[in-house]
Amino acid sequence: MCRLLFSVSALALLSIAPASAQEKLTVYTYDSFTADWGPGPAVEKAFEAECGCDVEFVAVADGVALLNRLKLEGGNTKADIILGLDTSLTFEAQQTGLFAPHEISLDKVNVPGGWTDATFVPYDYGYFAFVYDTEALETPPASLKELVEGNANDKIIIQDPRTSTPGLGLLLWVKAVYGDEAADAWKKLQARVLTVTPGWSEAYGLFTNGEAPMVLSYTTSPAYHVIADDTQRYQAAGFAEGHYLQVEVAGVTTKGATNPLARQFLEFMTGPGFQNAIPETNWMFPAGEMSEPLNPAFDQLVTPAKTLTLEPEDIARNRKAWVDEWLAVMSR
C-alpha cells in the first residue's frame, strides 16, 4: 500500500508542480499548432528570446475541445493563454467568465470586417473550403449544392463539430447556405462522408494518404503543397454560394491575467515574430503585421465569391441544437 500511495502521489506531483523557477507562460492550443511542422516551435523560440521566459504549449485535438478542456478545468486551469478558438466560439467562451480583457492595442490587427473585441485577439484567418486531389477527382463540385447532391462514391472526410472548429465551421456554412433545410442537406451529404475525425490534422492526414479524394480544410491549404512540395496536385474547390470565414483568436484566462507574460504574448502575437510564421506553418492568412511579403503562392488561391458568417451570439445560442440536429442525421 505504501508503495502505491507513494507512486501515485509522486506521479500526481510530477504532473502538477512546475519545477522550474523561471518565469513561465502556459499556452493551451490545438495539436496542429504545436506539431513539428506547425507554427508552435518557431513561435516558442521567438517569444522565449524576447521574454527570457519559458513557454509551454499544451495541445488538445482541436479548437472546440480546447474550450471543453478549459470549462472542465475551470478556475484551476494551468493555462495563461488559450490560443485556437474561433469566432464561432468566442461568445460562448466569454460567457464562461474564465477570460480576462486583453487590454492591448489592436492597431496591428487586420482581418476582414475589422476587429473590436475586448477579450479576444485574432492571430490568423482563413476560409473553409473542400480541398481535392486532382489525380483522384476530375471535376470538383462548383458549389455547396453540387457537393451535397453529387456522386456519393466520391468520398469526403470531415471533422466532428463537437471537437473541431473546421467541423463546426462546416456546420455553420451549411446553416448559412441552407438555413432551415440544413438537416435535409446533411441527410444527402452523409452518403459521401467516409469518416468523421475529431480534429483537422487527422482528417488531412487521411486525405494526403489517399483515403479519400476530398477533405474539409481551407482555401489556403493548396499553398502548402505548392510551397513545400512544389505540386499543384491538391486544389481547393471554389463554391458559388461563398465560403465561411474563420478568424482564429487567442485570449488571456483569468489565471493568465495575473501573469504579465500573458499580455506580453498577445502583444507579440500581433507582430512579425509570430505573424511571419503563420502563413507557411499554420497555412492561414496573417491577422497582424508581418515583416516580409506573403509568398506569391497565396495569390493563386481561390478567392471566395462571397464571405459567409453568422453572428457569434446566434451561434452561441443555437450551437447545441444545431450540433444535436447534425448528430441525429449523422447517426442514421
Partner: protein, 533 residues
C-alpha cells in the same frame, strides 16, 4: 474486540463501495439537479445509439458463436489434427491482448493502406475501401470472441464421456447422427451461456468502437458516454446514456446468471483422450478447411501487429521521451492497480473466512459475510467507463478532473480485477486456513507474523498470478484514461491512440507491438502459474 481481519475486510469493502457509490452519487446528483435535461436527452440520436449498440452486439455474437460451434466440433473430432495444441494456445491469445492493440492489428491488415489492401483491390476489382464502421467493429469482435467461444464449446465437448463416442462408433453412427445424438445436446446446453457472455463483451466494447467506428453512424453507448463528456461537455446526456448502459448490462447479467453461465470465461482445456471417431475423407477435408480458416482469421491480425510493428522506427521510438514517460506512467499505474487489487481482494477473502470460522456450523452466513463473498462480483455489471463517467461528472466543477487521472486509473482497474483476484486467492487462503487456523491460534501467531510465516508461502503463487492479471488489465485500459487522460498523464494506450489520431501509424504500430508483448508476457505468467497450482 473486533478481529483485525474483519476490520481489514470491512475497510476493503468500504473502499469498493466508495468507488462505486461515488460514481452513482455523481450520476444521481446530476440527474436530479437537471431532471428535465436528463429526460430531454432521450432523443432520436440516443435511440439510434442504443439500437446500434444492440445490433452490433447481436451481429458480433452470431458471427462469433455460430462458426465457433463448427470449429469446436471439428477440433473435437480430430484430436490428432496437426498443431492442434498450438492452435488452442493461439486461440487463448486474443483475450490477453489489449483491445487497442488488436484494433491496430486489424487496421494494419485490412485497413485501406493495410497489408492486404492491394490483394483485396485485385480481388474485388475496385479500390479497397478499408474496414471503417460496422464491418471493422464486427471483424474485431469476431477476432476476440470466435476463439473464446471455440474454446468454451470445446470444453463442453470434452465433457462427453468417451463411452458415448465409442458407443456411437460401434453403432456405426454417421456424421449427422453423431452430431445429433452426441455433440449437439452438449453444445446446446453450453450455447446460451457462451452466446450471453460474448454478447455482454460486445455490448460493453469501447476501444474497438472508438478506434474502428469512424463517426457518429457507428457509435455505441460507451463511446457516446465518452463523447458526451469529452466532446460535448454534456453531463445530462452522459447520465442518460450511462443509466441506459447499466440497465442493458444488468439485464444481460441477470439473464446470464439465470442461464448459469460461467462469467469468467476462462477455459482450461484438458488434454482430450483419444477417441475413436469415424470420420470419412470428405469430413476430414472439410474440417481441415474450417480449422485453417479460423486459424488464419485469428493469426492474421496478430501477424500484422508484428509485421507493421517491426516496420516502425523502433530505435527512434525507444529514445522518444514521450514513450519513456508513457511507459513509466503505465507501469507505475498498473503496479499500483495490481497491488491495490490484491490488497482489497485479500482483505475480503480473509474477512469472509474469519466470519465463516466464527459462525456456528449450521448457521446461515450473515449479510456481511455474503458481501465479503460476492460483493466484488457486482463490479462486473458496471463497465469501467460508467464508473469513470460518474466520477467525471461528480468532479467536473472542482477543476480536478485531469489531476485525479492516476488515481482513477489505479482504483477502477484495481476493482475491475478483483473478481478474478478473489477467485485466484480464495481457494488457497481457505485451504491454508483450514489446515493452519488451529495451529496458528495455539501458537499465538497472528497479524503480520501469521501473514509472513503461515499464509505467505501458500498465497505467494495466487497473489502473483492475480497481480499479473490486474497489471495486464490495467496496462490495456483505455476507457478510464480516455476520459481522464491529458497531456500530463499519458499511458501507453493513450499515447497509442494519440499517435493513431495524428496519423503517425508507424509509431502506433511500434507501440502496439511493445504493449502487446508486455501484456502477453504477463498473461503467459498468469496462465503458467494457474496451471501449476
Amino acid at each position: 474486540m473486533i478481529d483485525r481481519r474483519i476490520l481489514a475486510g470491512s475497510i476493503g469493502l468500504a473502499a469498493v463501495a466508495l468507488l462505486i457509490g461515488g460514481a452513482f452519487a455523481g450520476l444521481a446528483a446530476e440527474a436530479f439537479h437537471d431532471f428535465g435535461r436528463t429526460l430531454g436527452a432521450i432523443d432520436a440520436y440516443l435511440l439510434r445509439v442504443v439500437r446500434f449498440t444492440v445490433w452490433q452486439a447481436a451481429l458480433s455474437t452470431a458471427l462469433s458463436v455460430i462458426p465457433a460451434l463448427f470449429v469446436a466440433r471439428a477440433l473435437a473430432r480430430h484430436p490428432s489434427f496437426p498443431g492442434r495444441g498450438l492452435i488452442l494456445k493461439l486461440f487463448a491469445l486474443p483475450l490477453a491482448l489489449p483491445a487497442i492493440v488488436a484494433a491496430l492489428g486489424i487496421l494494419a491488415l485490412l485497413g485501406r493502406a493495410g497489408l492486404v489492401s492491394d490483394l483485396m483491390t485485385t480481388l474485388t476489382g475496385s479500390r479497397w475501401q478499408g474496414i471503417y464502421g460496422l464491418s471493422g467493429i464486427l471483424i474485431a469482435h469476431v477476432f476476440f470472441n470466435l476463439p473464446l467461444a471455440t474454446r468454451l464449446f470445446l470444453q463442453a465437448l470434452d465433457t462427453v464421456p468417451s463411452d458415448q463416442w465409442r458407443l456411437g462408433a460401434q453403432l456405426g453412427m454417421g456424421q449427422r447422427a453423431s452430431f445429433r445424438f452426441i455433440e449437439w445436446p452438449v453444445l446446446r446446453t453450453a450455447l446460451p451461456g457462451v452466446a450471453g457472455l460474448v454478447f455482454m463483451l460486445c455490448i460493453t466494447s469501447f476501444t474497438i468502437v472508438l478506434t474502428l467506428g469512424g463517426g457518429p453512424r457507428a457509435t455505441t453507448l460507451e463511446v457516446a458516454i465518452y463523447q458526451a463528456l469529452r466532446f460535448d461537455f454534456d453531463p445530462a446526456r452522459a447520465v442518460t446514456l450511462t443509466v441506459l448502459q447499466i440497465a442493458l448490462t444488468a439485464a444481460i447479467v441477470f439473464m446470464l446468471i439465470r442461464l448459469g453461465a460461467n462469467m469468467a470465461g476462462d477455459a482450461n482445456l484438458s488434454v482430450s483422450p483419444r477417441r475413436p471417431v469415424a470420420s470419412g475423407p470428405v469430413e476430414r477435408v472439410f474440417s481441415a478447411i474450417l480449422i485453417v480458416s479460423a486459424l488464419l482469421f485469428v493469426a492474421g491480425p496478430m501477424a500484422a501487429i508484428i509485421v507493421s510493428g517491426l516496420q516502425a522506427d523502433l530505435v527512434r521510438l525507444a529514445s522518444d521521451p514521450a514513450v519513456h514517460a508513457a511507459t513509466l506512467t503505465s507501469l507505475v499505474l498498473a503496479l499500483g492497480a495490481a497491488v491495490l487489487s490484491i490488497a482489497l481482494s485479500l482483505s475480503l477473502v480473509m474477512a469472509r473466512r474469519t466470519l465463516e470460522l466464527h459462525r456456528h456450523r449450521n448457521a446461515a452466513p450473515s449479510l456481511l459475510e455474503q458481501l465479503f463473498d460476492t460483493g466484488a462480483g457486482f463490479v462486473l455489471v458496471i463497465p469501467p467507463i460508467v464508473l469513470g463517467a460518474g466520477w467525471f461528472v461528480l468532479m467536473r466543477n472542482t477543476g480536478l478532473v485531469f489531476v485525479v487521472a492516476p488515481l482513477m486509473v489505479v482504483t477502477v482497474n484495481a476493482v475491475m480485477a478483483m473478481p478474478f483476484a478473489i477467485r485466484a486467492i480464495r481457494p488457497a487462503y481457505d485451504a491454508a486456513s483450514a489446515r493452519h487456523e488451529r495451529l496458528a491460534a495455539s501458537l499465538g501467531i497472528s497479524g503480520i507474523n501469521r501473514l509472513r510465516l503461515i499464509d505467505w508461502p501458500v498465497l505467494r503463487r495466487p497473489l502473483f498470478m492475480a497481480m499479473a492479471f490486474a497489471m495486464a488489465l490495467s496496462l490495456g485500459d483505455l476507457g478510464v484514461i480516455a476520459l481522464f487522460g491529458s497531456d500530463s498523464v499519458q499511458t501507453l494506450p493513450y499515447l497509442l491512440l494519440a499517435r493513431m489520431g495524428s496519423y503517425r501509424t508507424a509509431d502506433a504500430a511500434g507501440l502496439a507491438l511493445f504493449l502487446g508483448i508486455i501484456c502477453l508476457l504477463l498473461m503467459t505468467f498468469v496462465d503458467r502459474t494457474g496451471n501449476r497450482t
